[in-house]
Point group: C2
Chain length 342, copies 2
DNA sequence: GTGAAAGCGCTAACAT
DNA sequence: ATGTTAGCGCTTTCAC
């Protein structure tokens, strides 16, 4: 029987193994392992022979087997909302860089803001035995991760806090940022200010709303019911919300947009109107400088980096209790937030 | 000795195994495996007992072991340039969606436009035995992947062709898109048009330049040497190039920007100038509509989706010879490309 | 319907 | 300096 047909189909398309390399080089299995892993205790001559066998067979170590034996996968999982969102791209990249510095690969998954999908993804990553997990929560109950964390999966939550479990968290200061932004509008003479945010079950949305309310209260301003709108960030919904706030008996003269997607739609709607409306948006967006959009910027890359660094500190054995880190936001005035009421 | 101390440290933080579940449920190992994998041939009663043991122990199947045995990881790798780039986010997300539909996870890696890093990443993914690999090439020689492809790793190249190997490729029509864009400028009366693109070793950069030259030649226009600038997309470099083309004895009246990053910087530079300069950019960018930037749009998500679908068709056993798919681009006029020369 | 035994490719522990 | 053995946790095979 031909040599190539010797093996069962499932063996990764008949890849050579260390055993094959050992046979070819006329050495023992462990010697091959030593060469492959750069361990000491091999004479230059044997090493050369092994290396030749490796090259001629096209051998590449099977990390699946290695992982099974070592118990560490050198990979971390990142569950986020949507990789296509310009906010999460840089965050993910920052996590990847830290992982890379620690010799680990990154497995990404998008929850699409769905709690079940978040859980499914996170648990699939745990089944793969990722060393650590970074989660941008879609759901609000993370007790399903308790057994995993107890079993040793380092876990850090980013952008939003964990629900019902005690864990490391890295956040931006949504409350403070929104409060500053709204205070900024008030300082420029606005009294009727609208808030358009994401769905109320999203932590950052309610925190930013809280900041808005605090700023209004600080200034002794009442908030009319119709000035607040939380909901999906689909352009239609946001456009309707903007339209409603600008019409009616009590129209706003300024708007605070609760995140990047809301800001973008709001800018589009305002551009098609003649009466100027002041605007401050949470999250910086590309080209906002040219459009003169005043924003509360958060540093997505810093969020990712901070979370990843905490994760690897845990993996390196740090035993401190879980902490919550809050990163500051920055108000960037560019014009849209510095106009007086019409 | 306490039960919890029974196991060696490396066993994934002492997670229960199927063996443990079997012991607890008083059944054989294989029966647990059957329950866990939903295989038939287990009485409802046994199944219940096994499920109870699973729940009480917090058992979760170790996919590393499963992978080793089955030879398939149900994961695909994606090597791209930079996850933080707004062009690659949607592409990556599209790949992820297709992978998800096939029950596979996605491992991402950024090459940072470095050929060595691309190779390192791609081979690391192969060592993990990803079932398939999608590569946005940074390098121009992919012969290093030949043994992997021969060993059964399905591989598809996106955005740029593979170098020196025969493989599936999915591209946007860079040549045609640039040619259309430049022809559009010529149709609006421009005769002196500049081209600013990415580094010449990047395939899309040279293809777009080729399209530019073709459009100029079609119109019987000479291309002055100083109207063409290829190089890194760093803002400084691009800004210098724009400045040079707009000054001197033979200034251009219109510019073609070779990709999203070049367009962004060019728009910034032009915004600070008084004389209007026409502009068409390759790649659509967020808020370009509000800034009135005319672009040649390519569909990043379609690139990713098409590549991923091809990949999974291969994994499902398709044996056709490698093909190259070219996706059309679309000219979106928004104002900046429709102004006559000053 | 159920289980015992073999083995996936590697590394750890222990020879030689 | 090199090799042998056991076993990581699972699936496959085959026997009961």
């Amino acid at each position: 029987m031909a040599d190539t047909a010797r093996r069962p189909e499932h063996r990764y398309g008949n890849r050579p193994t260390m055993k094959d390399v050992a046979a070819r080089a006329g050495v023992g299995l462990k010697t091959v392992s030593r060469v492959v892993n750069g361990e000491p205790g091999v004479t230059p001559d044997t090493e050369r022979r092994v290396q030749e066998a490796i090259d001629s067979l096209g051998f590449r170590r099977n990390d699946s087997a290695r992982v099974l034996r070592k118990g560490r996968t050198a990979s971390v999982g990142l569950v986020l909302e949507d990789l296509a969102d310009p906010f999460y791209g840089p965050l993910s990249r920052a996590v990847e860089e830290v992982a890379r510095a620690h010799g680990a690969l990154l497995i990404n998954g998008s929850s699409a803001e769905d709690a079940d999908r978040e859980q499914e993804l996170a648990l699939a990553l745990c089944a793969r035995r990722v060393d650590g997990l970074i989660v941008i929560p879609a759901g609000s109950d993370h007790r399903y991760l308790e057994p995993e964390i107890r079993a040793g999966v380092a876990t850090v939550f980013v952008d939003r806090p964990a629900g019902l479990i005690d864990a490391d968290v890295v956040l931006s200061d949504s409350y403070g940022g929104a409060r500053n932004g709204v205070a900024h509008l008030i300082a420029h003479g606005h009294r009727r200010i609208g808030f358009i945010g994401d769905r109320p079950r999203i932590h950052t949305a309610t925190e930013r709303l809280r900041g808005y309310r605090a700023a209004m209260e600080d200034a002794g301003l009442e908030v009319a019911e119709e000035w607040v709108s939380l909901g999906p960030t689909e352009p239609d919904r946001v456009a309707r919300a903007v339209g409603a706030m600008l019409s009616g008996p009590n129209p706003v003269t300024a708007l605070f947009a609760g995140n990047n997607r809301v800001t973008v739609t709001t800018v589009r709607v305002l551009a098609s109107r003649e009466t100027p409306v002041a605007l401050v948006g949470f999250d910086d967006i590309e080209l906002a400088d040219l459009l003169g959009i005043t924003v509360i910027a958060q540093d997505a890359a810093a969020l990712g980096r901070t979370a990843a660094e905490r994760l690897f500190r845990r993996l390196d054995g740090a035993e401190e209790p879980p902490t919550t880190v809050v990163l500051e936001t920055k108000l960037i005035p560019r014009g849209s937030g510095e106009t007086a009421p019409a």
